[in-house]
């Protein structure tokens, strides 16, 4: 546990992270220049479609990327420590202890041959010097904290004896049993029924209050983001395309992708005959477009978009990776500047510390 720090100092700071996969078909740049910041006790929602690299970002932070993937560059700073430079055995002390992670599929994320209690107690024993008995007591205690009835009995049961929602609660119990400062939740509710989803989110909120822990919540569901997040980062094709606090992103979205996402949510009370969609498909990672990765689907696309847009400041604390002016109007440079002009402009516009 570390001493308290100013609430604006980042607990986790990721700068220009790049994780690439050398596949048989070519190099896949799953994460290509992602930067984000999580403040202590705050929740960052990372939003994007399937395949945009959000999970890989989380796994990169945890240093759980395996062949053929590799973190090629960038820095990950947690609590002042550089996670990338950390020797593996010290990283293991961080994993499951100061940073915990829960995954999308509760069905398969728990080991089927050991009891739930065993698996939680294992995490406890690993990171603290308590007796086996004490570890198991803590496991049972965690199970009751996550709202599982009859926790003593459940601790002796195997995962297949529990429902999906309960298994996810067990995962949460396991992740929180070591009092982490940061919880990374990768699509924690996607695989669950809607009613169970709501319960799990409520549970996470309650535990967050109780423990003061920060959460990195990864999801493609904007509703979940709206409920839980203080800050929001939007990802597309391996890059951050927009980031700010939640209210700004929802009310004053700048990037056409974000706006497309928001517009596609059906609203009660509004009469429509067709749902809004974002035309086109996510680009093939082996065949990315030149310049802005979203341009093929963007209603505002113009020739300047053939140049990679800078991650620019829209308002203080709100960034967007787009050529459009902060007020949403035409780019300052005009619609079709030369490549050299565009490159120069990109340099000046790019925010130093997103």
């Amino acid at each position: 546990m570390t001493e308290t720090r100013g609430s604006n100092e980042a607990l986790l700071e990721v700068k220009d992270l790049r994780t690439h996969f050398a596949t048989a078909d070519g190099l896949v740049k799953a994460v290509d220049g992602v930067s984000l910041r999580i403040r202590p006790g705050k929740t960052l929602g990372v939003v994007g479609e399937s395949g945009c690299g959000k999970s890989i970002t989380a796994l990169s932070i945890m240093r759980l990327i395996e062949r053929p993937g590799r973190v090629v560059s960038g820095s990950i700073s947690f609590d002042g420590q550089d996670l990338i430079a950390l020797p593996e055995d010290e990283m293991r002390d961080v994993r499951g202890n100061q940073i915990s992670m829960i995954f999308q599929e509760p069905m398969t994320s728990l080991n089927p041959v050991y009891t739930c209690g065993d698996q939680i107690a294992e995490a406890v024993s690993r990171h603290s010097n308590v007796s086996k008995r004490a570890a198991m007591d803590r496991a049972v205690d965690m199970l009751s904290q996550v709202g599982i009835p009859d926790p003593k009995r459940r601790a002796t049961e195997h995962p297949h004896q529990l429902s999906g929602g309960m298994r996810q609660r067990v995962m949460i119990a396991m992740a929180l049993s070591t009092n982490p400062e940061l919880l990374i939740a990768d699509e924690p509710t996607t695989a669950l029924d809607v009613t169970i989803q709501a319960q799990i989110l409520e549970l996470m909120k309650a535990l967050r209050e109780k423990n003061g822990m920060a959460i990195m919540l990864i999801t493609h569901d904007l509703g979940v983001v709206a409920e839980m997040s203080d800050d929001v980062s939007v990802m597309y094709a391996g890059k951050i395309v927009e980031a700010s606090d939640a209210i700004t992103v929802f009310d004053k979205a700048h990037h056409p992708y974000t706006r497309g996402l928001l517009a596609s949510i059906p609203r009660m009370g509004v009469k429509r005959e067709r749902l809004e969609v974002i035309e086109g498909v996510v680009p093939n990672p082996l065949n990315l477009p030149k310049g802005c990765l979203f341009k093929r689907r963007c209603p505002y696309a113009m020739p300047i978009c053939d140049n990679p847009p800078p991650l620019r400041e829209v308002t203080p604390g709100h960034v967007s990776r787009c050529w459009l002016a902060p007020d949403g109007g035409k780019p300052e440079l005009g619609e079709a500047p030369s490549a050299a002009e565009a490159e120069a402009a990109a340099k000046t516009l790019t925010v130093a510390n997103p």
């Binding site: 759980l64 499951g96 599929e105 041959v113 050991y114 297949h160």
Partner: protein
Amino acid sequence: MATYILRRLIQAIPIVVGISLISFLIVYLTPGSPVDKFRTPRVSPQTIANLIHLYGLDQPLPIQFWNWFTHFWSFPWDNLAWGYSFTDGRPVRDKIFQRIPSTLLLMGTSLVVSLVIAIPIGILQAIKQYSWADRIITTFETIGYAMPTFWLGLILKQFFAVNLNWLPLNGQNTLGKQGDIPDMIMHLILPVTTLAVVSIAGWSRYMRASMLEVMRQDYVRTARAKGLPPSRVIGRHALRNAMIPIVTLLGLTIPSLLSGAAITETVFSWPGLGWLGVTSVGDRDYPVVLAVTMIGGMMVIIGNLLADVLYAVVDPRIHY
């Protein structure tokens, strides 16, 4: 579980009947009669006729089958349940029971040796997939698996026993040294090695595949995310799951404990059940042939049941 086993045993009865029928029919329908070997010029037709009557060969097929079948199952207490051997007149049960320990010794030893070597190799390969060690071992496995056991046995025998004279040529013991353990071990080395090479190739491939399959699973990722050291992730989380198919496969290999080594036993003149089976086929010693077939069949049934039971024991998700 007890009811499950009982249910399976009852289900096995028609299968056993089926096996008996087929075995008996094959023997019955074979061209020639068992008494043909006695038809020398010195033997009178009357003696032949008496023999036919003695062996019950003049009775209709269903009666013959019924007699044999009902007698067969009294083997736990009746030494004559399986009849008399046609080659040396001894009770078949005696001949077979005498051979069983030798076969068990050979097969048991090679199974243990194979597993002890193969499982760590498979695990190692899975952990270091695609490394040069993995590739070399895979090459050996592939060749070893493709090798005919008798060929390997021949080569080993000729090389080590004949040319170098380091190890004995065949048999289980040197004459006069029955019960001498070190001597028996010397005799055991070559046949076990022969069997083990192919066996290790098979088991380690299986272990490797199982381990790889398990290591891809989500719960292994979870274990890593908990900050567990690799030894624990592999040794406790992955291995325990990877062993499940191995254990069930073990159940299925039980049948071969008694019948699998026929060829190797023949090459090394190892006095086991497999060799007995092969020679009795050549000798047309039908009572022995039938008994060996039936034993083989029952071992398969037991092996299948054992595999399913073991599966339930090691995998908590399964229960009957």
